[in-house]
Structure formats: structure tokens, C-alpha cells
């Protein structure tokens, strides 16, 4: 066991993956907790579609894919926040826009693979399912800094944000700027989504936002304790998932991480079901 860990950490790409993965997991655990409390999981779904299309648009334009990724998710998050409760679009409208955005991504992907031959054919797969084992040191540095900043920002606004989430009317009456907090929160979620997309991919980041936070909230009632537990579950799933994919090279890391997060949610649900509080 110890030998495996030493061997695993002797590879630079694994050290990079653990560093970036930890930053992503902490941010996702925190952001996911608030997303569930606020009932905004659909925003995570929206951001995952934009993450895919934004990355490919940037790559096709010949700039760093991360530019399109962060630009797309933060822009759409701000848009969603500004539309806010005024425009409560229905499921059909939201789903139609998602399908269209994804369709544009498919076109960009086919144009990209047509113009750049050979080695770049894996770009689509990386955008969809992540490439955490392929991150270079510079990319890891960016992910860790962004993750730390986003997590710090969430911790700073945690108290008023929680107040505004649990009872918006009373919070507003007490002078909490609920609207500004809501916008700021979604922008942070946009940043976290872009960060997570590089680790587990655009299609799977929803799982990393939802599963650890949901598992924690099933088990614990007190919000701050649940948040800490969500972070622990996300980091645990990330570490074990990375280790599993190192031990079994044919298992992609994003699958292992998401599967472990989902299992933890299922176990939490089963535990709760067996002994109701």
C-alpha cells in the first residue's frame, strides 16, 4: 500500500493531478453545497454545456482553450444571475437552448478535427471528460490558484450567503445585499465550473458539484458541518479516484472520481433510509 503511494507520487503527472484535483474538489464541495441549498443545480447543467462549446470555440480561434472556457462559463453565469427570478424560463426553453449550444459545440469540434489532423483528435474527448492526468505544471498552478481564490471567496461570503439562501426576505430586511450576493455567487460557480471542467470534463462536472454536497446534506443537518463534510467527500472521491486510475490504467480518472462520489451519495442515502432521524 505504502509502496504504491510512494510510486504513484514519484510521477510528476500524478503529483500534478493530486494538486489540481484537490483544489477542484474543495471548490466543488463548497460551491455544490450552496448550489443545492439554493436550488440552482440547473445552473451547473447550463455551465457544463457552455464549458464544452466555449473551449472548442477558443481552440478553433487559435487561442488558449481556457480563455474560452473561463470566458464562457463566467459570462453565462453572470447572464443567468442577471436574468434571475425575473425570467423563469420553463424546462423546454432551457433544454432547447442547451441542445443548440451543444450542437454548435459539435460543429466546432468537427471543424477543429478537420483542420488539425492527428494528435488533436483527442481534444473533444478531453473537453468532454477531462484530462487531469495530462495537466502540465503551469496549468496546475492556474487551477490551484483559481480554486484557492474561489474557495476563499465562498468562505468569506458564507455567512451572509447562507442567511440570504435560507431566508431571503429577512436577510434583505436586515440589510444583506441579497441580489449582489446572488450574482457574485453564480459568478464564483462559473469560475469553479471552468476549473472543474479541466479535471473531470464538461459533461461530468455536474456530478462533482451535486453528489458530494448531496451526500453531506443527507447525513448532516447543520449547514457548516455539511459543507465541511461535502468538501471531505469530494476530496476523498478525488484522491481515491486518482489512485484507482493509477492502479488500473485502463480506468479513466474522471470515471473513477464520479463513480466514487455517486457511491458516497448512494451510501449516505442508504444509511439515512436504514436509520431515519
Amino acid at each position: 500500500m505504502l509502496a504504491l503511494v510512494t510510486e504513484m507520487l514519484s510521477h510528476e503527472f500524478m503529483r500534478n493531478a493530486f494538486l489540481a484535483g484537490t483544489a477542484v474538489a474543495v471548490a466543488c464541495g463548497l460551491a455544490g453545497s450552496f448550489i443545492l441549498l439554493r436550488g440552482q443545480l440547473f445552473a451547473g447543467d447550463a455551465l457544463s454545456h457552455v464549458a464544452f462549446t466555449g473551449t472548442l470555440a477558443a481552440l478553433l480561434l487559435g487561442v488558449d482553450g481556457r480563455l474560452g472556457l473561463y470566458g464562457g462559463t463566467v459570462g453565462v453565469a453572470a447572464l443567468l444571475a442577471l436574468l434571475g427570478s425575473r425570467a423563469r424560463a420553463d424546462d423546454v426553453a432551457i433544454g432547447s437552448v442547451f441542445a443548440f449550444v451543444l450542437g454548435v459545440g459539435v460543429l466546432l469540434l468537427s471543424m477543429f478535427t478537420a483542420t488539425m489532423s492527428g494528435a488533436n483528435s483527442s481534444v473533444g474527448t478531453a473537453a468532454l471528460f477531462g484530462s487531469i492526468l495530462g495537466l502540465d505544471t503551469g496549468a496546475v498552478r492556474v487551477i490551484v490558484s483559481v480554486g484557492a481564490l474561489a474557495s476563499l471567496a465562498l468562505v468569506v461570503v458564507a455567512r451572509p450567503l447562507l442567511f440570504a439562501t435560507l431566508d431571503e426576505g429577512v436577510a434583505a430586511a436586515r440589510g444583506v445585499p441579497t441580489r449582489a450576493l446572488g450574482v457574485a455567487f453564480l459568478v464564483i460557480v462559473g469560475v469553479v465550473a471552468a476549473e472543474a471542467a479541466q479535471a473531470v470534463g464538461a459533461l461530468l462536472l455536474l456530478g462533482l458539484l451535486a453528489a458530494p454536497a448531496a451526500a453531506a446534506q443527507v447525513l448532516v443537518r447543520r449547514p457548516y458541518v455539511a459543507m465541511a463534510l461535502a468538501v471531505a467527500v469530494a476530496v476523498g472521491a478525488m484522491w481515491l479516484g486518482l489512485a484507482a486510475s493509477f492502479a488500473l490504467p485502463s480506468v479513466p480518472p474522471s470515471f473513477a472520481v464520479i463513480a466514487l462520489a455517486a457511491v458516497s451519495y448512494a451510501v449516505a442515502g442508504g444509511y439515512r433510509w436504514l436509520r431515519p432521524a
Binding site: 443548440f100 451543444l102 474527448t125 461530468l204 453528489a211 448531496a214 474522471s254
Partner: protein, 273 residues
């Protein structure tokens, strides 16, 4: 013209056209009921669950069509039992989000494990109509025929129960039974639509044409007919773009469908103004 000559010459083009046509008709009709019953989110989930089914089938070397069908029907059964228990609203979205991510990641695992090129995951997710075989066309046609026959048989009570559940129950319709039956039909329809548009874009063929048609008219027969016409328009445009310019069908189908949807909204606004 050249397109028609090619169509006569190449079997793969005829297969693609036949499969896309059959699937568009079935999707438009089943999707119309799904929109009526506000089950559009379920459509998306059922289609996504088909992805690991298809990739597992490819890994095991059995028919991909059967993989889509088996997983989508199984998911429909799970959703039916969850609905029967009456799961809570907030928890439900977390469950759905987790299940979707788990399904997509499992599909990716199966694609990675199989010896085939990893880009085949993109064909399963975003559609690849040019590889449709003759056997697949027959299977899709048979499945769609069964779905449409069942739907025709239960159409009236289903419509009744979808519009006014209480009155329908009082008149002797059994809504719970119809719920389960419709979910099964929806699972099958999602599995067939996914084989043309891919798992991630089945929504475009199942929901958008039907929602557009319902914006345009409130008359039942016309509404279903418009839904079918729009679905055919989207898939045929997609095929033409794929044949002529090698554009992915996963772009053309949602774009045409979404364009019609936006136009229908604009028309409605103009009419009411």
C-alpha cells in the same frame, strides 16, 4: 439533384435516410405527449442513460441498438418506481444530476475499455447517421411501429389522463398504469432517437419539434402533424448537410429545430401584439 443520384447509388445513404425518417416520425409523436405531460427533463435523462448502454454493447460486441434500448427501458422502470414513491423535489434534482454524471462517466469507461477508437464516444454522444446498417433500419422501423401502435391504442385515455387526471380517474381511466406505460414508450423513443442524434441531443428531436408545434396551434391533429413535419425537416436537413458538406448531424438537427422554435415564439409575439 446530385444528392438524389448519390442516394440511388449508395446504400449507406438510403439506410441513413430510412432510419432518420422513421425515427423522426416516432420521436415527434411520442415527444408530443412528453411535452404535454411536462416530462421533458425525463426525456433528457432517459437519452443520456442510453449512452453507457450503447458503449457497453459495443464493448461486448453486441448490437448497439439493443444497448440503447435495454438501458433506456431500465432507466424508465427506475424512474417509474421513484415516481410511485413520490421522491422530494430538491433531492430529486441532486439524484438526477448524479445519475446523469454517473451514466456519462460509465459510458466513457466502456468506450475507454473497448479497443475501438476513443472518438467513437463522440459518435454515440452526438450522433453518426452515416454508419447505420440495413439491420438497424429494420430494427428501428419495427420498434417505432410497435411504439406508434401502442400509442394509438392508448392515445385517448392517455390524453385524457394527461389533461385532467382527476376527472379521468373518476371516469374509470387508470392514470398510474398509463404513467408506467408512457414512461416505457418514452424510454424506447429516447433510445431510437439517440441512434440518430446521439444521446446528448435526443432532446432536440423529441422535445423541440413538439414544443414548437404546440406554440403554433392548439388543435390536436394539426399540432401532432406539425411536430412530425418539423422533426422530418430537422433530420432531413441534417442528413443533407452531412452528405453534402460532411457537417455533423449533431449540429444541424438541434439548430434547425431550435430555429423553428424561436421563429414560432416570434410569430406568437407578433400575433398577440
Amino acid at each position: 439533384m446530385e444528392l438524389l443520384r448519390d442516394l440511388a447509388e449508395f446504400e449507406f445513404m438510403r439506410n441513413a435516410l430510412a432510419a432518420a425518417t422513421v425515427v423522426a416520425i416516432g420521436s415527434a409523436v411520442v415527444g408530443w405527449f412528453a411535452v404535454l405531460r411536462r416530462a421533458t427533463f425525463t426525456v433528457h435523462t432517459l437519452a443520456i442513460v442510453g449512452f453507457p448502454g450503447a458503449s457497453l454493447a459495443a464493448l461486448l460486441g453486441v448490437s448497439v441498438s439493443l444497448g440503447y434500448l435495454a438501458f433506456a427501458i431500465a432507466a424508465a422502470a427506475v424512474i417509474a418506481s421513484a415516481e410511485a414513491r413520490g421522491a422530494g423535489q430538491r433531492e430529486e434534482t441532486a439524484v438526477v444530476g448524479t445519475v446523469q454524471a454517473l451514466a456519462l462517466s460509465s459510458g466513457f469507461l466502456f468506450v475507454s475499455l473497448s479497443a475501438r477508437n476513443v472518438s467513437s464516444s463522440q459518435a454515440l454522444l452526438f450522433g453518426n447517421v452515416l454508419g447505420v446498417t440495413q439491420a438497424q433500419v429494420w430494427l428501428l422501423a419495427a420498434v417505432t411501429a410497435v411504439v406508434l401502435t401502442v400509442l394509438a391504442a392508448v392515445g385517448r385515455p392517455l390524453l385524457f389522463a394527461s389533461l385532467d387526471r382527476e376527472v379521468a380517474t373518476a371516469r374509470g381511466v387508470r392514470p398510474q398504469l398509463l404513467d408506467v406505460l408512457f414512461l416505457a414508450l418514452l424510454g424506447v423513443a429516447a433510445a431510437t432517437a439517440s441512434q440518430i442524434t446521439g444521446s446528448l441531443l435526443a432532446f432536440a428531436l423529441l422535445v423541440i419539434p413538439a414544443a414548437t408545434a404546440r406554440l403554433l396551434t392548439s388543435r390536436l391533429g394539426w399540432s401532432i402533424a406539425i411536430s412530425v413535419v418539423l422533426a422530418l425537416l430537422a433530420t432531413w436537413t441534417g442528413l443533407a448537410a452531412a452528405f453534402a458538406a460532411d457537417w455533423p448531424i449533431g449540429f444541424a438537427v438541434p439548430t434547425v429545430a431550435f430555429g423553428a422554435y424561436v421563429a414560432a415564439h416570434a410569430l406568437r409575439l407578433a400575433r398577440s401584439a
